[in-house]
């Protein structure tokens, strides 16, 4: 058993070095050879702290060549001149545990994955299925869609299966999570399950189940308030959304108008569809081909 022996030596130094007083309370070694040292010391802030150290000392013996043993006794030199034996924490630290697994299989032959491929693979592993663009149904993320600028905003209308939760969603390659409970055991939120009623959805009255009209061929400088005025004649308008270019803020020629009442919306379609507005002829229709009854109006809520 090794033991550090501390001996006090009176040094002929004419000044006092203040060393934080360390008080060793207990020093025990259990049957597994684990030494527990409890000590109290005063830290930099002048507070008394309890320090518990658990260490295990293992004596390693190794047979080395004579020359090697001799070199171990060499005095340190250069920048290390006068340093005490043993590794210095300033220059020598121990890194994190690493695993080197020697195995067959040409690792270099694996094609380098791009970040996007890696994410897709992870999604696949997590059971999320294929990555499908919501705009063009291509094999990429919606954000990376080359037709983003031209198709954005029409996404909800182009994707009839998205919110219904019924119909042949899984086979039609709808977005992940759109399918019924039959899609391979993956988690489907309650609101997306086939049996869920529209009324249980979050923000049920916020627009997703309101009768919503899609208005296209709107002039560039049309504002929300203009459309609210126009459609306000037919009934109470819950919400107006104008599709805009993200950078310039100019309108992209389409808008969604949600009515509170279905009859009023129907009336608005009949009256406004084909009407001249600014210098263009408006085209108005239901924002989504709906199944029977209320609900299923995607519109801006689906975005």
């Amino acid at each position: 058993m090794w033991r550090m022996v501390l001996t006090s030596v009176s040094l002929p130094i004419p000044f006092v070095i203040s060393v934080p007083p360390v008080e060793v309370i207990s020093d025990t070694v259990d049957e597994n050879g684990v030494r527990t040292t409890i000590e109290y010391a005063i830290n930099d802030e002048g507070k008394k702290v309890k320090i518990t150290k658990r260490t295990r000392r293992v004596l390693q013996k190794s047979v080395v060549e004579h020359a090697v043993a001799e070199r171990l006794a060499w005095a340190k030199f250069g920048k290390e001149r006068g340093s005490k034996p043993g590794p210095d924490m300033a220059t020598t630290t121990v890194g994190e545990h690493l695993v080197l697994k020697i195995s067959v299989g040409n690792k270099s032959a694996e094609p380098e994955q791009t970040a996007e491929q890696a994410m897709k693979a992870n999604l696949q592993k997590a059971g999320a299925g294929k990555v499908t663009c919501r705009l063009c149904k291509g094999d990429h993320f919606t954000a990376k869609c080359p037709y983003k600028d031209t198709l954005a905003g029409l996404d909800a209308t182009e994707n009839p299966d998205a919110d219904t939760g019924e119909g042949p969603a899984p086979s039609a390659g709808g977005p992940p999570g759109a399918g019924g409970p039959g899609t391979g055991g993956k988690y489907v939120p309650p609101s997306m399950r086939a049996g869920a009623s529209a009324g249980t959805q979050m923000g049920a009255r916020s627009g997703s189940d309101l009768p919503t009209l899609r208005v296209t061929n709107v002039s560039e400088d049309t504002q929300e308030s203009d459309l609210r005025d126009l459609f306000g004649k037919f009934g109470r308008v819950a919400r107006v959304y104008v599709g805009r270019d993200r950078e310039t803020g100019a309108g992209k020629g389409f808008a969604f108008v949600s009515f509170e009442d279905r009859e009023n919306a129907q009336k608005a379609i009949e009256k406004v569809n084909g009407m001249g507005y600014d210098n263009l002829i408006l085209s108005v229709g239901w924002s989504q081909p709906r199944p029977e009854g209320p609900g299923g109006g995607g519109g801006p809520g689906g975005r």
């Binding site: 020359a67 070199r71 030199f77 920048k79 220059t91 020598t92 690493l98 020697i102 067959v104 270099s108």
Partner: protein
């Protein structure tokens, strides 16, 4: 395995080298210092101070008494390993890029850079071991390299024959007495040869190159025996003694590091099977390209020095020494 991180350098490492027994590890870097470490616990034994420029290269003799170093301050220095004292200084017109001790420790060879109108030159010096502070200023042999400059060199077992690797990718054997090229392989590599390390019995050697490949070449006819092709420029290659592997290290150039992610950086040490030319393992850790790799002569540990200024010493686990990736197939060393 838990690597030991040695932080004795402030700039990128240029070369690291074990002594013959493998208990000491010498390292040199662009910060002008040469360090010596105990390989078993990473303790720094000392430093060799005196160079006034990037230290490009070090080598130690078989008895671990003398150390020789070459630097960008145009000096070649001889040091006492045990005390850190500089014993002798040779001055040249240009930087010293590579040094190596000869087999019997009585000769050293050095390459000086092609610059400022001076040609790339190879000089061989006799080492006076009796009185190390009294060396001959004049080289025993000297000749200029015609054509592509030499980047790496080593003595061979054949007396007065040295092995060189060149900027063009060429590998040659030179007779130092006449400066005559005995043998060459112009197409050993297609880009700069960055490192050259001999195997234990010196019948073959490994070269690494910026052309992303490392090769084991036969020392007699310089013909490639094995080729290890990776996807990154290589800065160093080493042969693992007692195990059938080679270690390759590299990464993209320092200038392009900031524009790519760490994962794409490929700053890993790759273990390739020496015979089957297949990658068998990788060790991560460095934050920059690996500049130099050295393996303990007993094959129980290896060290890598990177552009990040760290040296990482890895003592192999038992599993590495027992691993038989290709079944019960032993390769005699």
């Amino acid at each position: 395995m838990r690597p030991i991180l040695l932080q004795g350098h402030e700039r990128s490492l240029t070369q690291i080298k074990f002594n013959k027994e493998g208990d000491l590890l010498f390292s040199c870097s662009k910060d002008h210092i040469i360090n010596v470490w105990f390989s078993h616990n990473g303790e720094r034994l000392g430093t060799y101070d005196g160079h006034n420029g990037t230290v490009w290269t070090v080598d130690v003799d078989a008895k671990s008494e003398l150390l020789v170093s070459g630097s960008a301050d145009n000096q070649l220095r001889l040091w006492s390993v045990a005390t850190g004292k500089c014993l002798f200084v040779w001055e040249f017109p240009t930087a010293v890029k590579r040094v190596a001790f000869g087999e019997d420790d009585t000769k050293i060879v050095c390459i000086t850079e092609q610059r400022m109108g001076h040609q790339c030159a190879i000089r061989v010096f006799d080492i006076n071991r009796e009185e190390p502070t009294r060396q001959s200023k004049e080289p025993l042999h000297m000749f200029n390299i015609i054509g592509s400059k030499a980047t790496v060199c080593a003595f061979t077992y054949t007396p007065n024959v040295i092995l060189t690797g060149h900027e063009s990718g060429k590998v040659s054997l030179f007779d130092v007495r006449s400066g005559e090229e005995i043998e060459n392989n112009e197409r050993a590599h297609s880009d700069v040869v960055t490192d050259l390390q001999l195997c234990k019995d010196q019948t073959y050697f490994i070269t690494s190159s910026k052309d992303k490949s490392a090769r084991i070449l036969d020392i007699r006819n310089l013909m490639p025996i094995k080729t290890y092709t990776t996807e990154t420029p290589l800065n160093s290659a080493a042969i693992a003694p007692n195990r059938p592997y080679v270690l390759l290290g590299g990464g993209q150039d320092a200038m392009s590091v900031t524009t790519t992610s760490l994962r794409q950086g490929k700053f890993e040490t790759r273990f390739w099977h020496r015979v089957f030319e297949e990658e068998v393992g990788r060790v991560k850790g460095h934050f920059g390209p690996i500049n130099t790799i050295a393996v303990h002569p007993a094959g129980t540990c290896y060290a890598s020095g990177g552009e990040d200024g760290f040296i990482r010493v890895h003592h192999f686990d038992e599993s590495y020494l027992r691993a038989k990736p290709y079944g019960d197939l032993e390769i005699m060393d």
